[in-house]
């Protein structure tokens, strides 16, 4: 706080490179361990320790019971210590590949990285993976801590060999500095005090290096940018726009532009607390008031009027995948980019990166802990800047719409096209006009269920009935569409997602044309049915779950597909070797193995009235 600055760093590297021990050592030597905490470690060391009679300093950091029992680090721990020059926040990150997302969590807020290497093992795949993630997150300065030098007799040749092999690997990672230090976290060599056992090393100790490194700053003068977090309207006389300055500075009287609307005004006041201030800089949380009454909401960005960032809805981005469920192109996710949350999807996976060599590999999906380059498409244009230019405006996360879990961490490289180039053709004869002419409310009735559950039978009955009532209808049927529009698609998960995406959009166009559209598709995945639902206004989309047990469907086997699948001739068949995710809250749930198709049809008809 105040006069001394803060440096945030992580320790990373492979399993058992001694990360937790090193932090324990830093805390211990900086006198940041209280006596009662040290006594607790001494007691714990007898139970869980790996250092015989000595206190196991790693236990200062591995705070979870499961970690202490297994002697590993599962999740990132944040610890604090200070020297007279500065305060440090250190994130001790786990080395296991399984917990890479926790390592990425620590790296995303770090200024610098201390990459540990076990002198006996040298550069490992995990060392390379972590180094790559560190570089991806934009960390430019690293310390290469070659640890456990005591176990290789403080050999200078071992040290030099590891350093040169790391440098050869890190060539394309664009680190601005790599300081290699030979040390022993366990015994303290070159951590705080220069070691007498490495007379051949004349560089800094780890602590003196950490004390002298500059915290990462976005450097230089940047134009003002502030995403609006919250609109503060306590009464009619006050309308403030709160947020944290992402880049640049702002002063009373400055002209600002609101994006994406493009409205312009001047800063009337900068409110922080009871006193107003004249000026605010990068990183400050403030409330701005403007001269004019403008319509501004959360997710808009206030920017310097004379230097505006771009607005776009499609990007190339680097993406770290963090979920056991693989990334599927076309599947809708929730995207959070600065204060904006909106729908989006990865339209293309361009390639994934080999963690060892950095070479580009062709990929149809991204699996847990993989890094890829993708094209991201959003449901509306957003204000952004490339991650390398402006981290707060270029970083995003992907959230699974079903589980609400954070599944991807992304960094925007550049926009694929400017949104300003793709104005929607504005049409004077609109959806409402067309619907009126047809005397009906256009809707989409979406039948989902196993093959043989009776979707098409019921849809056909319904269409006949609606037709008799002089309604304008159309049926989109799975089998028929696969003969035409979607004949290029197979039955893998990726193709099934694309299949549904196309059908959903066709159905949307048809309702815009005024029709009542009956979609009859197995559509086994919730995420894609949600995608379809999201295209329609509330109430215009009816999800009808045609529910018959697998046994009944298989018994019917109208198309002979179950038999074929059982013989192994039809891979990825829903219900047999591919999952069917039943709807959680369909508008209608029909038990087609108990009710007649006619009765089922009547129930839909009632819903439509």
């Amino acid at each position: 706080m105040g006069d001394i600055d803060t440096l945030r760093f992580i320790t990373c590297g492979s399993v058992d490179d001694g990360k937790s021990t090193l932090i324990g050592r830093l805390l211990y030597e900086s006198k940041s361990i209280f006596d009662d905490q040290m006594r607790a470690v001494e007691v714990d060391s007898r139970q869980y320790g790996t250092q015989g009679e000595q206190a196991d300093l790693a236990l200062l950091v591995d705070g979870l019971q499961a970690e202490r029992e297994q002697g590993i680090t599962i999740d990132v721990a944040y610890r604090f210590f200070a020297t007279p020059n500065r305060r440090f926040i250190v994130a001790d990150t786990p080395g296991h590949e399984q917990y890479t997302r926790n390592m990425a969590t620590g790296a995303s807020t770090a200024d610098i990285a201390v990459i540990l290497i076990d002198a006996r093992k040298g550069v490992l795949t995990q060392t390379r993976r972590h180094s790559r993630i560190v570089a991806l997150m934009g960390i430019r300065q690293v310390v290469l801590a070659i640890n456990k030098m005591d176990l290789v007799g403080f050999s200078p040749s071992v040290f030099r060999e590891i350093v040169s092999s790391f440098q050869a690997f890190a060539n394309d990672l664009q680190f601005s500095s790599i300081q290699a230090i030979p040390l022993s976290a366990l015994q303290g060599d070159n951590v705080f005090v220069p070691s007498a056992r490495t007379p051949w090393y004349s560089g800094p100790t780890l602590m003196s290096r950490l004390n002298s490194m500059a915290p990462a700053s976005q450097g230089g003068a940047h134009p003002f940018r502030m995403p609006v977090q919250w609109v503060n309207r306590p009464n009619l006389d006050f309308r403030g726009f709160t947020g944290r300055v992402a880049q640049g500075a702002i002063q009373k009287g400055d002209s600002v532009c609101v994006l994406p609307s493009g409205l312009i005004s001047r800063v009337k006041g900068i409110v922080v607390w009871q006193d107003e201030q004249e000026r605010a800089g990068e990183g400050e949380s403030i409330t701005l008031t403007l001269e004019d009454e403008l319509d501004i909401s959360r997710g808009d960005v206030l920017v310097a009027q004379d230097s505006q960032p771009a607005v776009a809805d499609a990007f190339q981005a680097h993406l770290l995948w963090m979920s056991e469920q693989s990334l599927v192109a076309g599947r809708p996710y929730l995207v959070k980019l600065h204060a904006k949350e909106l729908n989006g999807s990865v339209s293309t996976i361009k390639h994934k990166e080999d963690v060892n060599t950095g070479s580009h590999l062709a990929a149809r999906t991204l699996e847990l802990n993989e890094i890829g380059v993708v094209n991201l498409t959003l449901s509306q244009p957003v204000v952004f800047e490339p991650y390398k230019v402006n981290r707060p405006l270029g970083a995003f996360i992907l959230i699974d719409k079903m589980t609400q879990a954070t599944v991807g961490a992304g960094m925007i490289d550049f926009a694929l096209r400017r949104a300003t180039n793709i104005h929607w053709q504005s049409l004077e004869v609109d959806r409402t006009a067309r619907a009126q002419l047809m005397h009906q409310r256009p809707r989409c009735v979406w039948f989902t269920g196993l093959s043989g559950s009776g979707k098409s039978t019921i849809a056909n009955l319904l269409e006949k009935q609606l037709h008799a009532e002089r309604r304008h209808t159309f049926i989109l049927d799975g089998d028929n569409i696969r003969h035409g529009l979607n004949q290029d698609l197979g039955f893998t998960v990726t193709d099934r997602v694309e299949n549904i995406r196309r059908i959903a959009h066709v159905a949307k166009l048809m309702t815009d044309a005024g029709l009542i559209v009956l979609v009859s598709f197995i559509s086994p995945f919730r995420a894609e049915r949600q995608l379809a639902r999201d295209l329609f206004a509330e109430g215009d989309f009816l999800e009808v779950f045609v529910d018959a047990s697998l046994a009944v469907c298989e018994h019917r086997d109208t198309k002979g597909l179950y038999a074929k699948s059982r013989r192994g001739e039809l891979p990825n068949f829903t219900g047999i070797d591919s999952a069917y995710e039943a709807p959680l809250r369909p508008e209608l749930h029909l038990s087609s193995d108990k009710e007649s198709p006619e009765a089922c049809m009547r129930r839909i008809l009632e819903k439509l009235r």
Partner: protein, 296 residues
């Protein structure tokens, strides 16, 4: 005033949590961390009042001076204060003295907190915990996800990248938000001084009636503290580094009567502030277990 990254980060966190919440609430425990958190919330939404109520889970065993301070601060902030006491526990006469700290905390704090959250349907709950306090807290996210039943799963936390906090939850789930995650005890004291934040007088050294128990000084705050055989209250110059229920909060001997002296004492302290908290050490991995059950 110079830019304070800790303060700005906390304010950003508070605003982000509120923007993503349907029914937010701030846990207010009257202590110094709560006082700082409340101050930050007031700054985040100034000139409006913070758009959420305060919730005090009252075990009924707080120091008398804490109740006085609570009344004063709620009036000053112009916010709604909800208090909640586990009525079953109260009726059963659950006391930290006769039932032990572990059972008492479970019934009157953890259980009470869960009851209060369920009663009001709060989905986002602010707490003043700091990562430097305790080893399992050092592991916790700023936005800490709780499953239905308020359980914390330390082995499967959501990744939390940059300042992009995922506030999405399903029905019945909730999020605990810790705006002071990256603050240390010293940061808290320096901020209290700089911002002139009112705190409970028990933090300042004064001659108080105490007895020496389980290696620490326990204050005789009212007649409910039964004296053990041979125990006689004595007057000592003491103060508290943390405040909880008075039979469970140990005082330290100190002559620090000003903020400057407290800061200097904190800077040179050789034992942790939670050492005086008996509930941290009543079983191994104690705090982690309590947190898994829903404790803050």
């Amino acid at each position: 005033m110079a830019y304070d990254p800790l303060e700005s980060e906390s304010i950003e966190i508070i605003r982000e949590a509120v923007a993503g919440a349907e029914r937010p609430v701030m846990l207010y425990s009257i202590g110094k961390d709560s006082s700082v958190m409340l101050h930050l919330a007031r700054k985040a939404f100034y000139p409006a009042s913070p758009p959420f109520p305060l919730l005090h889970v009252d075990t009924t065993w707080k120091f008398r001076e804490m109740y006085q301070h609570r009344a004063r601060m709620v009036a000053e902030a112009g916010m709604t204060l909800l208090t909640y006491t586990n009525q079953d526990g109260l009726a059963a006469g659950i006391s930290p003295i006769t039932h032990g700290s572990s059972y008492f905390t479970d019934v009157m704090k953890t259980e009470a907190l869960k009851q209060a959250l369920n009663l009001h349907g709060f989905d986002v709950v602010f707490g003043g915990a700091r990562r430097d306090e305790e080893k399992s807290r050092a592991k916790e996210r700023i936005f800490s996800f709780r499953s239905e039943g308020h359980r914390w799963d330390p082995k499967n936390q959501r990744p939390e990248l940059w300042n992009l906090y995922n506030t999405r939850i399903r029905k019945g789930e909730s999020i605990r938000v810790f705006p002071l995650s990256n603050w240390t005890e010293l940061d808290v004291w320096q901020y209290i001084q700089r911002e002139a934040i009112p705190i409970v007088p028990l933090y300042f050294a004064k001659e108080r009636p105490v007895v020496f128990r389980a290696g620490t000084w326990i204050m005789v705050d009212d007649e409910r503290l039964p004296l053990e055989v041979g125990e006689k209250p004595q007057t000592r110059m003491v103060r508290f580094r943390t405040l909880g229920c008075y039979p469970l909060s140990g005082a330290i001997e100190s002559i620090a009567t000003t903020l400057d002296e407290i800061i200097s004492e904190t800077f040179h302290a050789r034992v942790s502030e939670r050492q005086g908290r008996l509930i941290d050490s009543d079983q191994p991995g104690s705090m982690e277990k309590k947190k898994q059950e829903g404790y803050f």
